[in-house]
């Protein structure tokens, strides 16, 4: 038994099955990310003035990752075009770049994550707050860690600016007048709360990690599919080239969508 229209286009819709399927799936993906974006807006609008962190992410790295994804998107569509033009060699070349891009995106992202896990904020009992690094760059410390480790002080390298300060973001210009990285010692008794920039830090980091991790999973999943079609799955080209080209188109549509989500994620999370 064969399912009709797996390759051939249906007369009235002019589509093959998988194309309808992937667009429906993308529709549901739009709603998934749409709900998260809505949540972002509500959390952000609902946050009291001065509590929403900004400027804590590395913009050049984010921009670089954006370009990585854009490049991968072009190579995906070029690989499909190469197949359409009957050139499987070029297809392999372009998809190899796509896979490299996917890999570097995830690698860069994981380094960004690691940076956040060693970056801290301290809420002091007198109401002041500061961000910075703890001596030795430990991961995932929290207020409880102080109790568990029975520490009576923390050696802290504060950042030149706290994000809630009214100072303009870039006026400082390198922090010459601030002793940004001089270590100070903060007694544990003065620490009301200590948190790394992990999801539990604030709703900002909660939504940042949720959105980027979910997006990262999509990148990973897409890369798996593309990798399969690039490797063992490519055998289909010999027996059924049209169907194989369709598969590349479908995986490409998903990949473009992942790119498209990032195009919004970058300004929303890094810049605003």
């Amino acid at each position: 038994m064969d399912i009709p229209f797996t390759v051939k286009l249906r007369d009235d819709t002019n589509l093959y099955n998988a194309k309808v399927g992937i667009w429906l799936f993308l529709g549901s993906e739009v709603m998934l990310f749409g709900a998260l974006f809505s949540s972002y807006i509500l959390l952000r609008v609902g946050a009291p003035a001065g509590t929403w962190p900004h400027g804590l992410l590395n913009v050049p790295i984010g921009a670089f990752n954006t370009i990585v994804l854009i490049v991968s998107s072009v190579t995906v569509v070029m690989s499909w075009a190469s197949l359409k033009l009957g050139n499987p060699g070029k297809f392999r070349f372009y998809q190899a770049i796509t896979l490299l891009c996917a890999l570097s995106f995830l690698t860069i992202k994981s380094f960004e994550y690691r940076d956040k896990f060693t970056h801290y904020e301290i809420w002091k009992t007198d109401g002041t707050r500061m961000t910075g690094h703890i001596e030795g760059s430990p991961y995932f410390w929290s207020t409880r860690t102080l109790k568990d480790k029975k520490l009576d002080q923390v050696v802290f390298h504060p950042d030149p600016h706290h994000y809630a300060e009214p100072v303009q973001r870039h006026e400082a210009g390198g922090g010459a007048e601030h002793e940004g990285h001089a270590a100070i010692s903060v007694p544990a008794s003065e620490i009301a709360r200590l948190s790394a920039f992990v999801p539990a830090h604030s709703t900002y980091f909660a939504i940042y990690f949720t959105l980027t991790a979910l997006h990262g999973l999509h990148v990973f999943g897409g890369a798996l599919v593309i990798g399969y079609l690039w490797g063992p799955g490519a055998k289909l080209w010999k027996t059924d080239p049209e169907r194989f080209t369709n598969r590349i188109e479908i995986s490409g549509l998903f990949w473009h969508f992942v790119d498209l989500v990032w195009i919004f994620l970058f300004p929303v999370l890094y810049l605003l």
């Binding site: 038994m1 064969d2 399912i3 009709p4 229209f5 249906r10 819709t13 589509l15 093959y16 099955n17 998988a18 309808v20 399927g21 429906l24 799936f25 529709g27 549901s28 993906e29 709603m31 998934l32 990310f33 749409g34 709900a35 998260l36 949540s39 509500l42 959390l43 609902g46 946050a47 009291p48 509590t51 207020t143 409880r144 948190s195 992990v198 999801p199 539990a200 830090h201 604030s202 709703t203 909660a206 939504i207 990690f209 949720t210 979910l214």
Partner: protein
């Protein structure tokens, strides 16, 4: 003619090839839509029974608060321990867990899988003349995801701390903070289970829509689709677009639960007088919005397939065309469309502003119009028909007034001023159970009795079917009718002691304060009716299994003399469904067409001969 013959032989050879599939490929990891439909159906019925049993136990606690549960009490004590069933008495945590899981199981593990996935899988490809679903392997994955979700939900009863206990709606912050002693706790399992179930529904929905768009047989235009297919089509869209926001919400609640975030936990939250170690800044209402964005379309996911089934059966058993086929189709499209913009009528009591409340109240009133149109069309279809009162038809006929009661009693809940009084009382329970229990479930029973001969080649017993029907109808009403009265008297739902705490007393100045005793005493009558309803299902269970072996064999492929395509296949339909390619020449309900020799004209019958 020569090519046709070869093709048939070719098909036959293919069929023979598929016969060789081993047990595992044929019944467990099958990609055949009919087998998957049956898998969904059996698993769903199992969960329907399980969810029902949870409620039967809860009804004991409601009717006889604090008394030891007879027979089952000892068992609960042994399995769940002192904390949950001390001395065989249902403890508050267990009551809450059973309540939450009753709702979750009934909605997500029983009704949706049976109504949408089981009937949809079995019937839709047959009715549109397709050899299978568009993506058979995705179909299999969908069932497996559902099964995994079911396993996760079921096992959550046995983990330390027990299953989720914050209602099927899992409102935050309660859901996140209800069981801080255990990690992972029942709520974690609930969320993980939901992620599986949502994934399953999404895969299913993609598959259904693609199948209906792409695989309709030649000549099967949109306006020739049986109404059941239309209902499934709209249902699939609801699942496709309404479920992802809940998936997003589930991910966020999972983060709250596991990673200590505060998506739904507000600033200034206190637990037992202490601030919990969280950042705050979240919004509990956000969860409610995202939940009900799914939750309300979900109501239509539950009811539309049943409407579709009922419509098929009514057309078949009145032996005349459905009155207003086009009205039905446009109404169901309207419902699908509107169901996305009514959700916040579940949230009037959260302190909504008047403007937004008015908006949602208006859309809610508007959505009742297409529902009434559908019901009216079905009622008018009965007019002047020579009705065959067989078991499926009895269930289908009962569906209409039952759903009517359920729907109309929903209007006072849709108005925000009456909702203030009725919200979270037994009135709400009565309302939505009338829609889902004697409504949808009756529709499902009708479908089971109706399509059973196609699936098995044997009929279910008419006599026991009628016993099942009449007893179910009576006890359903004895259960849910008094609840309207209880709710209007102010009896709140989800009460561990059945509302005894709020029992009324005579105040010399004020008269009776609280819920008058008579409404609390009704709990006992309701509970006895519920247990009797349990007994009333025994004929069905026996009938269902016994008929597979001993039921009357059908003598034709089309025992009900129906017009739609599913009856044009061999019985039971083989892998690939149809013996020969078929073409559709007419609409779905051409019964009693004047001038024809038979009172039904199948869709695939050409006018030429």
């Amino acid at each position: 003619m020569q090519p046709t013959t070869t093709e048939t032989q070719h098909h036959a050879a293919h069929g023979a090839h598929h016969e060789e599939l081993g047990f595992w490929r044929k019944y467990i990891f099958s990609t055949d839509h009919k087998v998957i439909g049956v898998q969904y159906g059996l698993t769903g019925l199992l969960f329907l029974f399980f969810g029902f049993c949870l409620m039967l136990l809860m009804r004991w606690q409601i009717a006889y608060p604090g008394k030891k549960i007879p027979i089952v009490g000892e068992l609960l004590l042994k399995v769940l321990g002192d904390e949950m069933a001390n001395g065989g008495v249902m403890q508050p945590d267990l009551y809450n867990a059973f309540g939450a899981m009753h709702g979750t199981i009934m909605v997500f593990l029983a009704i949706v899988p049976i109504a949408f996935a089981a009937f949809g899988n079995f019937v839709v490809p047959l009715q549109i003349g397709a050899p299978d679903m568009a993506f058979p392997r995705v179909n299999m994955a969908s069932y497996q995801a559902y099964f995994m979700g079911g396993v996760v939900m079921f096992f959550s009863f046995f983990i330390p701390g027990g299953a989720a206990r914050s209602g099927w709606t899992s409102y935050s912050p309660l859901a996140t903070l209800a069981d801080p002693a255990h990690h992972p706790n029942g709520q974690t399992f609930w969320i993980l289970g939901m992620v599986f179930l949502i994934t399953s529904s999404l895969l299913g929905a993609v598959n259904f829509i693609a199948t209906i768009i792409q695989l309709r047989a030649k000549g099967m235009t949109w306006m020739r689709l049986p109404f059941f297919v239309w209902a499934q089509f709209v249902t699939a869209f609801l699942l496709l677009l309404a479920f992802p926001p809940l998936e997003a919400a589930a991910v966020m609640q999972l983060m709250d639960n596991v990673a200590g975030t505060s998506f739904f936990l507000p600033t200034g939250l206190m637990v037992n007088g202490n601030p919990p170690p969280i950042s705050g800044g979240g919004s509990p209402l956000l969860w409610q919005h995202l939940f009900w964005f799914l939750g309300h379309p979900e109501v239509y996911v539950l009811i539309l397939p049943a409407m579709g089934i009922v419509c098929e059966i009514i057309a078949n058993n009145t032996r005349k065309p459905i009155w207003g086929y086009k009205s039905l189709v446009y109404s169901v499209l309207c419902i699908g469309f509107l169901s996305f913009i009514v959700w916040a009528h579940h949230m009037y009591l959260t302190g909504m502003g008047t403007k937004i409340a008015t908006f949602f109240q208006t859309t809610t009133m508007i959505i009742s119009i297409p529902s009434v149109i559908i019901l009216t069309c079905l009622f008018i279809s009965l007019w002047g028909g020579s009705i065959r009162f067989n078991t499926p038809m009895l269930f289908a006929l009962a569906f209409m007034p039952m759903f009517g009661i359920g729907g109309l009693t929903g209007l006072p809940l849709g108005f925000n001023f009456t909702d203030l009084h009725l919200h979270d009382t037994y009135y709400v329970i009565a309302h939505f159970h009338y829609v889902v229990a004697p409504g949808t479930i009756f529709g499902l029973f009708a479908g089971i009795y109706y399509w059973y001969p196609k699936a098995t080649g044997r009929c279910m017993s008419e006599f026991w079917g009628k016993v099942h029907f009449w007893s179910s109808l009576i006890f359903m009403n004895l259960i849910f009718q008094p609840m309207f009265a209880q709710g209007m008297a102010g009896l709140g739902r989800r009460m561990y002691d059945g509302g005894a705490t709020y029992a009324g007393f005579d105040d010399p100045a004020l008269g009776v304060v609280g819920v008058p005793q008579i409404f609390i005493d009704m709990n006992r009558h309701i509970s006895w009716a519920a247990w009797c309803l349990g007994l009333a299902q025994i004929p069905f269970i026996i009938n269902f299994f016994l008929s597979m072996k001993q039921g009357r064999k059908v003598t034709s492929d089309n025992p009900w003399e129906s017009t739609t395509l599913e009856w044009q296949t061999p019985t039971p339909p083989p892998h690939g469904n149809f013996d020969k390619p078929l073409e559709v020449y007419r609409g779905p309900y051409e019964y009693s067409v004047p001038g024809k020799s038979r009172d039904f004209t199948p869709q695939s019958e050409s006018d030429k001969h």
